[in-house]
Amino acid sequence: MEQQHVAHTDHFDPVASKLGMWLFIFTEILLFGGLFIVYSVYRYKHPVEFHLAAEELDVTIGLINTIILLISSMTVAMSITALQLGNKKLTLILLGTTGLLALVFLVNKYFEWGAKIHHDIYPGSEFLLSLSKGDMLFFGLYFFMTGLHALHIIAGLALLGVAFFKVKNGSVNKDRISLLENGGLYWHLVDLIWIFLFPLFYLIH
């Protein structure tokens, strides 16, 4: 803690920034945590309907998206390594790859949602309202939770985008890595949530 001689306006503490990011991740965990509570209560109350509704979802597309997210998690982790080793070019390539994978994930999601909506399965649709209560809840949760997750993907994408340009212009570099590190942490959180969403929605048997 040798910080007292630095004027407080340009004082920068990477540990504080990382701790702050972790605390923010905790709130995100609890935010999705609320939804997981809702999910588990309704699944407990409507086990059969959840099972049947889940068979409507395409396991293959879910599996592909899972693997895409896992790979993107690795590339972002590698980009941090690359920056720590001072390899700026590789950092940018890896970050770019992460961004591309995120976009592929979103495109997949778009087609997945599109197919459901095409079959008249969306919140408030007449067809869905004619189904059982368990079905309504399942698809309500499906759209809400994967939708919120997609929003987090977009937020993570924006954060990594900022990191990309800051690495490019050199303000994020080997000695000042916090922004990229925090962007990476956030990206892993998005991955973490998906790790649970995938079996809970696609793999009920």
Binding site: I29, L30, S73, T81, D191, L192, P199, L200, H205
Partner: protein, 95 residues
């Protein structure tokens, strides 16, 4: 909290982590496609937790960071677990 030199993960270790995660993902799809009754869900959740732990420890660096982060993450997850358990004291025992 001491500011010791940051641990740098090697590319190789990250590839190993990724491969482990992919194997676990394929495993969970395979396991849930055989009929095991309630154990399907249990197995799926167990594997998901293992995967999450791996992401937390290696990709999110908890294994190499100061202990306080691990402590905080554990505490937060424990509180969340207790909240779920208490909520289910209601739903499990409804007449």
């Amino acid at each position: 909290m001491s500011e010791h030199k940051n641990h740098i993960s090697s590319y190789k270790s990250q590839i190993v982590v990724l491969l482990t995660l992919i194997v676990l993902t394929v495993l969970t799809v395979t396991i849930t496609s055989v009929h095991l009754g309630p154990f399907n869900t249990a197995a799926a959740m167990l594997i998901a937790s293992v995967k999450a732990t791996i992401v937390l420890l290696y990709f999110m660096h908890l294994k190499f960071d100061e202990k306080i982060y691990r402590f905080m993450v554990t505490l937060v997850l424990a509180i969340y677990a207790v909240v779920i358990i208490i909520t289910f004291f209601d739903y499990l025992y409804r007449p």
